[in-house]
Amino acid sequence: MGVEGIGASVVRKEDKRFITGKGRYVDDIKLQGMTHAHFIRSPHAHAKVKGIDSSAALKMPGVVAVLTGQEIVDDKVGNLICGWAITSKDGSPMKMGAWPAMAPETVRFVGQAVAVVIAETKNLARDAAEAVVVNYEELPAVADVHAAIKSGAPQLHPEAPGNQVYDWVIGDEGATDAAFAKAANVVKLDVTNNRLAPNAMEPRAAIADYDSAEEHFTLYTTSQNPHVARLVLSAFYNIAPEHKLRVIAPDVGGGFGSKIFIYPEEMVALWASKKVGRPVKWTGDRTEAFLTDAHGRDHVTHAEMAFDANNKITGLKVKTYANFGAYMSLFSSSVPTYLYATLLSGQYNIPAIHAEVVGVYTNTTPVDAYRGAGRPEASYLIERLMETAARQLKVDPAALRRTNFITTFPHQTPVIMAYDTGDFNASLDAAMKAIDYAGFAGRKAKAKADGKLRGIGVSCYIEACGIAPSKAVGSLGAGVGLWESAEVRVNPVGTIEVLTGSHSHGQGHETTFCQLVAERLGVPISQVSIVHGDTDKVQFGMGTYGSRSAAVGLTAILKAMEKMESKAKKIAAHALEASEGDIVIENGEFKVAGTDKAIAFPMVALAAYTAHNLPDGMEPGLKESAFYDPTNFTFPAGTYICELEVDAGTGKTSFVNFVAADDFGRLINPMIVEGQVHGGLAQGIGQALLEHAIYDASGQPVTASFMDYAMPRADDLPSFNLSHTTTLCPGNPLGIKGCGEAGAIGASAAVINAITDAIGKNNLEMPATPDRVWRTIHAA
């Protein structure tokens, strides 16, 4: 590796513009003649829209139009889709209610848009919105998943009787029952995985610009995957054919999954731009983010684990109710099924698993993928079960895990996933050493003498990342392939533009992707630019989520680089009068191996474009592209151990130490990986201690601002102690597994296991607020 190659902690190229306020986000863009949209949103969780009177609003200053849900339906803009078809255990397809971009008849969650005001300024639009009179007839609402499936519960969609979207199963029920029948011990646990609001720093925003002469739309939007947005807007929402729609996702300030989805506001902005003949901008505020960004998690689960007399796991039964909110968001159906239940084997050899997942509609904000998406729910469940089992079986929790670790690879789990490689003992060892696990009993005793409740909690997570082999996900119901594309454009003077279908919204691709080029060619990263986020520039791509950009996106770049290098070697060999096979690339030069004959890379590039002296029959130019489709998921794994103290008087948790030993395969930029782990851990700890998107029984959100929704602050978090135990992923040539979600997947179980260890009571739900911990300590 060079100083800027793979494995170097290169300072992020993009940070100069972000830190100096020069980032260009959607809201920074101003178009000539631009109007501003303000949405009128339902204050009710469930109601009939009996009428909308916009006559007064239309007379107000600066108002261009007031558009309603009925109009968008009349104009045949398509209903929102769910892109992953799930089949229930009885063979029936999942049951979905229609989701129009604005509600013409019925609103089903607080915040759902019924109309939009288009005006000259944002404030004028907001003023006019207050003059629009919406006549609602309130209906009974239901927010809780168990209440929603009871008979007599308010019904959301006629298409989904009993509010049930699907009842899906995976695994071998007979084999699992047989394992339980023979079990020496059975461990049971009920857990709730709390609903979270994603809260990217930049709220969602969109600008739509319709060109009537060209019948062409441009959409600037806060998207993690602009190409998918264009595909869906074209193929399903009838906005425009793909060649008449350009989607640009410029700098995007965080996504965490919530910006994967195509939202009603983007559809309305496009449609409205054509209707009013002017560009339309919408920028959400934080309240709108709480109300309308797809939430995450929200599972209620009962699980049982069977053990033999040697404490080996023999079976696992899981039943989960997943709260989908009021509508099925774009990838929501896959999250509690193929992204969750397929990971229920954890790091363990479990011969028989059976899981049932019931998807449920409620009068709440739709729920979809949020950092980790299904895998945090699986990991939390398994790691809480392992801790519970260790307590029940009276064995050391680390030792119980070790007894059950998968140690030979590849390993086929009973729930689809085939783990390719890993060394779970290595990461457990590293974490135990880092936290001095052996010395914990002494520290606990000393803390007790000082009046403190000290606990330690282990979490051994595994995730399936590098999403995903297209054929495999297609066979499971996915509506898209999950490959990635790349193009390497060498300019005549030898600078390089790399076009990628991945999208960076905080991940640092503009640095890490350049590092691959630096590694291959020995050129400085300053000579390389990464181009992404514009469907007019990049041919196609599937975007960034599921820790896929390095494992899939960067591999596509590698494939394109190999093609480019192959052609460049032919040009160099021709120029140097040598055999192509003798050409090696070193420090920005193409050399004849073992000689001092060399040609600098810029000269090769120039030769490709002057085309004065190319090998016979060779096309001019130096530009290659590639599509890469992975052959398997990747399986990042690791161990997190948390040591903390609980203040018995207040229930407040204070961290003593938090160690992470991760196996991400090859690291491109360890500094950026460290940042990803820190951010993920913050979100995992946030879920464990602070964050909870709460609705009251009538479906009113209780946590719709940062005054009530507790986002983790720096002083809520410990100083992290990170390390890596590496096994290279055999599934891709760079050996990468991915690192973007691990922290959020593994952290919460470590925290709850530690708190429950400290207080000596096993049952404690997230978030473990001081009040909840205090009540648990003092419960009879």
Binding site: G649, G651, F706, M707, A710, D771, R775
Partner: protein, 266 residues
């Protein structure tokens, strides 16, 4: 935010005169409550009168046994002030755990007590220390000033100019921070006056806003020590309950915070 007319007053008299000429004016101190509420369109004053440039509202004075903090002094300036640290370190500590750095740089003592948020920190200090609120018209004792949730003795257009605190023999403040807002989930200020009186005030706990805690006062009067509070029973009735804390939890916090405040008192 709705349209409003912004005024920058250069004196208390000018501010009060501007107020009387406006139909629905609001005084703007640090803006830590008013501005967010206006941005959310929950308040729509016709006129906003900025007090930030009024020199006579700035500063701290220690005169004998009386510490006077002018109403427009920011939390940060209070926290850093040598006289505050010397006379009543508990006030300096209270400001150090109030909000976050951004709030402390902008927010003012006058703004806090005029708003009288039931979970604000400063009302507890005023009540426990037996402070006097000075306005452009009169002096009001803390006991009379705070009259329930977001309610004070202030009349329309009356402007707080300063708060005078008797320097106590000992005082301490401890607070359980609200995990989201960083207001007091419950905060307790304990004070022992130089004449031996004990006053204890709790904020964030009661449905009626900041309150004295007579049971703890009695216990501490008999024995100024954390253990004196062990046997005190605090009723959960009439205490606040929300997603971050049940009434029973807050009742517990009143005791625990009082004990810790006594332990920390200097």
């Amino acid at each position: 935010m709705y349209q409003t007319v912004y005024h920058r007053a250069s004196s208390v008299d000018e501010a009060v005169a501007l107020f009387s000429k406006s139909s629905e004016a609001k005084f703007l101190a640090g803006g830590q409550t008013l501005l967010p509420v206006m941005k959310q369109r929950l308040a729509s004053p016709t006129d906003v009168i900025d007090l930030g440039k009024i020199k006579e509202l700035q500063g701290v004075e220690l005169s004998g046994d009386v510490l006077t903090i002018k109403a427009g002094t920011t939390y940060f300036d209070i926290m850093q002030n040598a006289d505050v640290k010397k006379a009543t370190p508990a006030i300096a500590y209270l400001t150090s755990v109030l909000g976050d750095p951004a709030v402390r740089y902008r927010g003012t003592i006058g703004g806090s007590i005029a708003n009288n948020d039931p979970a604000a920190d400063f009302p507890a200090a005023l009540l426990a220390l037996g402070a006097t609120v000075k306005t452009n018209k009169r002096s009001i004792t803390a006991d009379d000033f705070f009259q329930g949730l977001f309610t004070t003795a202030l009349e329309d257009g009356e402007l707080i100019t300063a708060v005078s605190f008797p320097v106590p023999a000992k005082a301490g403040y401890e607070k359980m921070r609200h995990p989201a807002s960083r207001f007091a989930l419950t905060g307790v200020f304990v004070a022992q006056t130089k004449s031996g009186e004990v006053r204890v005030a709790a904020t964030g706990a009661s449905q009626s806003g900041v309150m004295r805690v007579p049971a703890i006062e009695t216990a501490l009067k008999a024995n100024w020590s954390p253990s004196a509070i062990d046997s005190v029973s605090i009723s959960a009735s009439n205490l606040l309950a929300d997603i971050h804390g049940t009434a029973e939890y807050r009742a517990n916090l009143i005791k625990v915070m009082a004990q810790r405040a006594v332990a920390a008192a200097r």
